[in-house]
Each structure stands twice: as structure tokens, then as C-alpha cells.
């Protein structure tokens, strides 16, 4: 299944499901990445990781390894 990692810069995706558990999952969700929310991938850091996304109207950075836990439609 496609994850947020696979979404290209400049594209928008809708969250289908979140994997994992515990602190990381809670943190991702606390920041507003929940089911059905729209995520716009803005850019990649100069060294290729992490990425910058827009969610619920604000900017968030997230590592690619963490973005893998976010399944998108």
C-alpha cells in the first residue's frame, strides 16, 4: 500500500490509516495527522530527509522513516 513516503513533492494525499503504536504514533496523531485528513507534501530537506508537509493549515517536518507509518489513499 502507498505510504506518505511515496507521495511526491507538490502532491496532496489523504490519510487512510496509521501504523505503529506508542509514542511515535501518538505524536503523529497529536500533530493532527488523523484518518481522512489531507496532507500536502511541500518539499524535501536539502540533504534529502526529512520532508516538509502541510497539514491542517500549518507546516510540519517528518522523517521519511516516520512517514512510512502513514498509509495514504
Amino acid at each position: 500500500m502507498k505510504t506518505l513516503r511515496d507521495v511526491k513533492c507538490g502532491e496532496t494525499a489523504v490519510v487512510a490509516k496509521l501504523q505503529g503504536e506508542g509514542a511515535l504514533k501518538r505524536r503523529i496523531m497529536d500533530m493532527g495527522i488523523t484518518k481522512d485528513v489531507e496532507i500536502f507534501v511541500r518539499k524535501m530537506a536539502p540533504l534529502g530527509d526529512p520532508i516538509e508537509i502541510t497539514v491542517r493549515g500549518y507546516e510540519l517536518s517528518i522523517r521519511k522513516s516516520e512517514a512510512e507509518n502513514i498509509l495514504v489513499k
Partner: protein
């Protein structure tokens, strides 16, 4: 009776500004007990009996981060009389997420929707009346930056505190409310009625810390699990996620009728960010910004003011002034020495760093306030997380090349406590300005090379970085620093012009707390070393005070003699080298003047003096001994001022000791290997020391390359979720 009000809100919502506006200059800055998280308190302006406590900036009340646990423990157990929940009006959805959690605690609460000036400028519309009805608590519009609405918030919070009006939490979907009610009735005896909703939700989430607090037995846990698991199975999600979804769903509903966000094209902040962190220009801009910070804080303004306070203000004016004054009134020699060298010298060592620290903190505050600090982490994360540090660890290390004290203080900007501790421990491996004379002495004695030779300085910075990487990787695999890599799910706040009042406040606060907290340790240590080096024996008879030309008769020299054997395996087991190293704890540049005195060349000697080089080479004839001495002095526990800063920042005796022991042991082992392998290569023969060196090397390499013993847990968790 005094009223306690807690100020809670997300990071970047203007909380610091609000706190400053509310309390003015009455703030007290310290740490929360036992942790490195900053705690600020102050009296409300014009109300002596109202105390405002600034909680750490948090996004949630989860049990997973130090800041969040501190905040919720404070709210629950210290029970302030009211909460002011500050939210960023330009980022309503995510800010309200914390609000839904704060409401559950049940304390009287006032919501302040901040940054209203920006909301209006953006053309967004918030119907406060409707939102207030939805939340069930009063709302005030504020703009802390412009001082608007601040008074109203304070007054409303005071009246809310006096009325003690209970607040009700937001309601979730019928299904969830039903299970929460079930939890409530099942475990009714375990918690007070006032926080019912809070505990029910936390129990549903299986919050470990709450289970512990309520002393849940195994059978209680089983009973709880049966209730929770039924809902989890039905909704095919874990209970924590179910609650988070419920909250965001509620927010979505609540703001539907009262919030209109105008479609934005591109804000100025977006435009800036497009350039500043772009793939091509991101790194060059980073290099330019960091060079500017370095040039201003370390090599120009910073060192100018430090040199002025140390050399001119204290060295030429205050110390000689005090000396002539004391001599004029006929004070005893030892008293003159105690006051001038011991006390003024020691206090001067603290104050000398203050101006430079103010310069540095000004710059750091500007970087933080304008939003670039978060981008520093964004750009550097990829490199630093490889050896267990944060992207923000870069700044302390850069600053540390000038002086370790502000370097250690700069770790403030790292949120994760483990990352922060590790950065504090390793930052002083980068040679600071005061270590340069030692490098100059050894390079001169060993190779006859002038310090100004182009490759000398870079090579020592490089060695410092290598040591940081080695120490980082080793520490990361120990149980104290192990665990999940801190998630890097981090907000990148909007850029804005720094607010000077904030920057000023910040800078002064940090400098002040350093002077007060670190000052005592530096002062005491300096007096002790002064005593040891200026009291002693002449011709076998204890004569009390001796002046520093006779340091070789001092108690310190005796101690040096007694413990010099410790440094035997490192190749510099002479009492002079030992005394030099001890004196280096007061200030690293002291090593030079101490050798000057001990070699009979006088304390005023420079590190580039060929006579000093010669004498040093006579004391330690082999290059490997000299380099081992250098390595130990560069890596071991830093000077007292930096130790004071470590103590201040770690806020725990245990962690301060850990840092110092780790640094010293690390330095010892590296120096031992240098000396022993050096001896072996130069035909020194194979001995016990060589065996020890090989063993250390093997253990170190093992610690470096062994698989992370704590990682397995993570993998199994990941596997279980597939």
C-alpha cells in the same frame, strides 16, 4: 490568599510573550525538579497575590514526553486555581486539540485566542461567541505582541478562579461516552469526582503512568483490558488513536459553524521558506547564517567583550586595584592573595563569560524567535541523528569552539531530554579558545610547529568532532540513552520578525540564571584550588601561606606527587604535569602559567616561548607522551565555569557527575591508547600497558559496532504491527 494560575498552550503560540506581558519583570526562571525543562513563574502585574506559572509549550497531554508529563502532573496534583489556555488563532484546529484535553481536568479555565492581529490581517473569521459556547468556557481575543487583551485575560482568569466554576469536558460520540461511563462506574472508588472525565479517558487509553498512579492491580488491569479491547476490536484501532480521532472530529464539528479561513495564496513566510530551505540554496544559506553566528558570537564581538572583561576589567583594573587597596591598608599577604587571585579571580571567571553569553543568547533568541532554529534542525537532522544527536546539536558545538560555557547553555534549544544531555556531555570535546594555548605548547614542544601553521587548528577541531561521533555512538547504545529515536514530527513555525522585547527578556533571563546557579560552584572550586596551591611546607615545616612562586612546596604539589602515578600509563606521571592538569580545571589557559611557575620561568610566560617548549620536552621527552597529555587535557572534565554550566543545565547531581566521569574516563582511555601505541611504534617494547591499550581498543570498537541491544524491541514492535 494567593491565587495560582497556570499558563498552558502549544509551542509557538506566543506564550512567552504573553507570560512577559502578564508578569513584567517579576519572573523567576528555574527548572522543574530533576529535569532539564525550564520552569518560569512570576507575579501578575499589579496583583501581588496572583502567581502565574508558565507550563512548557506542549501539543498534547500524552505520557510520552517530559514536558507533557510535567504539565499534566502540575495541573492534576498542584491544582492551580485556574488555567489560561493560550491558542494561536491562525492555527485553530491543532491548538484546540490541547484545549479538549485541558478541559477534561476540570479546573476553571479561560481560553485566550492569540495572534488576533494576524487572524484579521489574513482575513480569517472566528465567531468567538459560538466557539465559547461550544467549549463551555469564556474566550478572550488577544494579541500579546501588541499587548491587546492581556489585562482582560488576567481579570477573567482571576474571577474564574474565585468563582471556582467547574468546567465540563467536550463530549465524544455516544459509543465512546458509553464505554467511558462504564469505566467510571467500574473503577469509581479509585479517583475523585472532580477529575472523572480525565481519569476515564486516560484509563481507556491505558495510560501507563495513570495506571501506576491509581495503583491498578493485575486483576484491575485485566478488567480494564476487557472493557477497552471490546471497543478496540469493534473500531479496529487502538484506544489511544480512537480518542485522538474523537478529539479532532469534535474540533472539526465545533469550528464548522464559527470559523471561516480565507484561502491563502502564498504568505511572505512561505516565500522566505521556499528559498531558505530549498534543496539548492538551503545549505549555502545555512553555512552563511552559522558563519555569521560564529563570527559575531565567538571570534569578533564575543571574544572582544570576554577579553575585555577578563584581561582589562579584571586583569588590569579590578585585580590590581583591589591588590593595591589591600596592600595599602596593610592586609596580610595571604588575604591579598585570597581576595585577588582566589575570589576576584574566581568570580571574574564567571563574569568574564557573561558579556559573551549575552551576545550569544541574543543571536540564539533571534534565531529561535524568527523561526530559523526549527529549520536548522530540519536541515541538519539527517547528519546528526546517525550518532544519536539532534539537528540542533550543531549550534552548541559551533559555539563550543569559542567557549564551552555558552556552548553548553545553547543546548537549551534542544527539546528532547536525551539528545540534550548527550549534547551537553559531548560539546566540550570541541577545543575551546582557552585550550588553544595548550595545543600551541604541545605542538611547539613536540614538533617545533608554530600554532599559526595553517593545519594545526583545523586538525584539532576535526579530532573533537571524531570524539563526539565516537562518544555519541557508544552512549546511544547504552541503556541510559537508548530507546526510540526521538520522533522528528516537528512543527515548522511561520517566519516572523523577532520581537525585541522577547529577545531581550530571554537573553537576560538566561544570563542571570547562569550567574546565580553556576556562580556558586565556580566560586567554591576556585577558593579550594587557591587554598591548595598557596598553602604548603618549606623545609619540611608547614608554614601556611606561601606565594605562588613557590607552588612546588604547596599542598597541591604534594597531592600531585601522590596521584601522579594515575597518569603513569598515559605517559605523563610527573607531579608537574599532574598539577598543571588540576590547575587546568580552574581555567584551561592556566596550564601554561602553571608550567611557567613550576619550571621556574615565571607565570607570565607565553605558550609560544621556546624555553617553555624545551622544559616541557625535558619533562616529557617522547612525542606520544606529549600528545597523550594534550589529548587528556582537551577531552577531560572542562574548566569549573563549564562544569558550573553543565550543573546548571543538567539540573541534577547524578547527571552532572555522569557527564564529568564519562568525559574524564573517555579522555583517560584515549590518552592511554595514544601513549601505549605510540611507545610500541617507536620501539618502546611490549608491556602490561600495551596489553591494556589493545583491550581498550577492542572494547571500544565492540561498543561502536555492536548491534544496538535496545533496537530489537523496536523491530519486534514494528513486526507485530505488520
Amino acid at each position: 490568599m494567593s491565587i495560582k494560575i497556570a499558563l498552558a498552550g502549544n509551542p509557538n503560540c506566543g506564550k512567552t510573550t504573553m507570560f512577559n506581558e502578564l508578569t513584567g519583570s517579576t519572573q523567576y526562571v528555574g527548572n522543574w525538579p530533576g529535569v532539564t525543562v525550564e520552569k518560569k513563574e512570576g507575579k501578575l502585574k499589579g496583583h501581588k497575590d496572583v502567581i502565574i506559572t508558565d507550563l512548557p509549550g506542549i501539543y498534547s497531554l500524552s505520557p510520552y514526553t517530559m514536558e507533557e508529563v510535567i504539565s499534566r502532573n502540575y495541573l492534576l496534583h498542584e491544582a492551580p486555581d485556574a488555567i489560561i489556555n493560550l491558542i494561536d488563532g491562525t492555527n485553530l484546529e491543532r491548538n484546540l486539540y490541547l484545549t479538549t484535553q485541558l478541559l477534561e481536568i476540570g479546573l476553571p479555565m479561560v481560553v485566550a485566542v492569540n495572534m488576533m492581529d494576524l487572524v484579521r490581517k489574513n482575513g480569517d473569521k472566528i465567531d468567538m461567541k459560538k466557539l465559547s459556547n461550544q467549549l463551555g468556557c469564556p474566550i478572550v481575543e488577544t494579541s500579546a505582541l501588541k499587548g491587546q487583551g492581556v489585562k482582560e485575560v488576567a481579570e477573567m482568569a482571576i474571577s474564574a478562579a474565585k468563582e471556582k466554576k467547574a468546567i465540563s469536558a467536550v463530549s465524544f460520540s455516544a459509543e465512546i461516552e458509553k464505554v467511558l461511563a462504564e469505566i467510571n462506574s467500574t473503577f469509581a472508588g479509585k479517583f475523585s469526582k472532580g477529575n472523572q472525565k480525565w481519569y476515564a479517558v486516560k484509563l481507556f487509553e491505558r495510560d501507563e503512568k495513570i495506571l501506576e498512579e491509581l495503583k491498578f492491580s493485575e486483576s484491575d488491569k485485566k478488567q480494564l483490558h476487557t472493557i477497552v479491547a471490546a471497543v478496540e476490536d469493534e473500531l479496529e484501532d487502538d484506544s489511544e488513536s480512537i480518542i485522538t480521532n474523537e478529539r479532532y472530529n469534535w474540533i472539526g464539528h465545533a469550528i464548522k459553524g464559527c470559523y471561516v479561513k480565507k484561502k491563502q495564496k502564498m504568505t511572505t513566510s512561505d516565500k522566505i521558506d521556499r528559498i531558505v530551505t530549498s534543496r539548492i540554496l538551503g545549505l549555502p544559506i545555512f553555512v552563511v547564517v552559522m558563519s555569521l553566528v560564529y563570527i559575531v558570537a565567538v571570534s569578533t564581538v564575543g571574544s572582544l567583550v570576554t577579553d575585555f572583561t577578563n584581561d582589562t576589567l579584571f586583569g588590569e583594573w579590578i585585580q590590581p586595584g583591589a591588590e593595591s587597596l589591600l596592600v595599602a591598608v596593610g592586609a596580610q599577604d595571604w588575604l591579598v592573595s585570597l581576595v585577588v587571585s582566589g575570589i576576584i579571580g574566581g568570580v571574574g571567571a564567571i563574569l568574564g563569560f557573561v558579556p559573551q553569553m549575552i551576545v550569544l543568547f541574543l543571536l540564539l533568541s533571534v534565531l529561535e524567535d524568527c523561526g530559523y532554529m526549527a529549520r536548522v534542525a530540519f536541515i541538519m537532522d539527517r547528519i546528526f541523528r546517525k550518532f544519536g544527536l539532534s539537528g540542533k546539536s550543531f549550534i552548541p558545538m559551533l559555539i563550543g569552539s569559542g567557549c564551552g560555557v555558552p556552548g553548553i547553555m545553547a543546548t537549551r534549544t534542544i527539546e528532547n531530554e536525551k539528545d540534550r544531555r548527550m549534547t551537553i556531555i559531548t560539546t566540550t570535546f570541541i577545543p575551546c579558545g582557552a585550550k588553544m594555548p595548550i595545543i600551541a605548547l604541545i605542538m611547539g614542544a613536540a614538533f617545533g610547529t608554530e600554532m599559526s601553521t595553517w593545519w594545526v587548528t583545523p586538525i584539532f577541531y576535526f579530532m573533537g568532532v571524531v570524539c563526539i561521533v565516537i562518544a555519541g555512538i557508544i552512549l546511544k547504545k547504552t541503556k541510559w540513552f537508548a530507546g526510540d529515536p526521538a520522533p522528528f514530527v516537528m512543527e515548522l513555525p511561520q517566519y516572523h520578525v523577532p520581537f525585541w522585547k522577547n529577545v531581550g527578556f530571554h537573553t537576560w533571563e538566561r544570563a542571570k540564571s547562569f550567574i546565580i546557579k553556576a556562580g556558586t560552584i565556580i566560586f567554591l572550586s576556585s577558593v579550594v584550588v587557591w587554598f591548595l596551591s598557596s598553602f604548603g611546607w618549606v623545609d619540611g615545616k608547614f608554614v601556611g601561606y606561601i606565594s605562588d612562586e613557590f607552588m612546588d612546596d604547596s599542598i597541591l604539589a604534594k597531592i600531585g606527587n601522590g596521584i601522579a602515578w594515575i597518569f603513569g600509563p598515559l605517559g605523563f606521571g610527573t607531579w608537574q604535569a599532574t598539577v598543571g592538569t588540576i590547575m587546568g580545571l580552574v581555567a584551561k589557559e592556566n596550564v601554561i602559567s602553571t608550567f611557567g611557575v613550576l619550571f621556574g620561568l615565571g607565570g607570565e610566560i607565553g605558550e609560544d616561548d621556546a624555553g617553555l617548549w624545551n622544559q616541557f620536552a625535558i619533562m616529557l621527552p617522547h612525542i606520544h607522551q606529549q600528545i597523550a597529555f594534550l589529548a587528556f587535557n582537551l577531552l577531560c572534565a572542562p574548566c569549573f565555569a563549564a562544569i558550573g554550566a553543565i550543573r546548571r543545565e543538567m539540573n541534577s547531581l547524578k547527571w552532572t557527575s555522569f557527564a564529568l566521569v564519562f568525559q574524564t574516563v573517555f579522555a583517560y582511555l584515549i590518552a592511554l591508547m595514544i601513549n601505549q601505541f605510540g611507545a610500541l611504534l617507536t620501539g618502546g617494547g611490549f608491556g602490561v600497558g600495551t596489553v591494556a591499550a589493545f583491550l581498550i581498543l577492542i572494547v571500544m570498537v565492540y561498543l561502536l559496532v555492536r548491534p544496538d541491544p535496545n533496537k530489537r524491541k523496536l523491530n519486534t514492535v514494528a513486526a507485530a504491527n505488520l
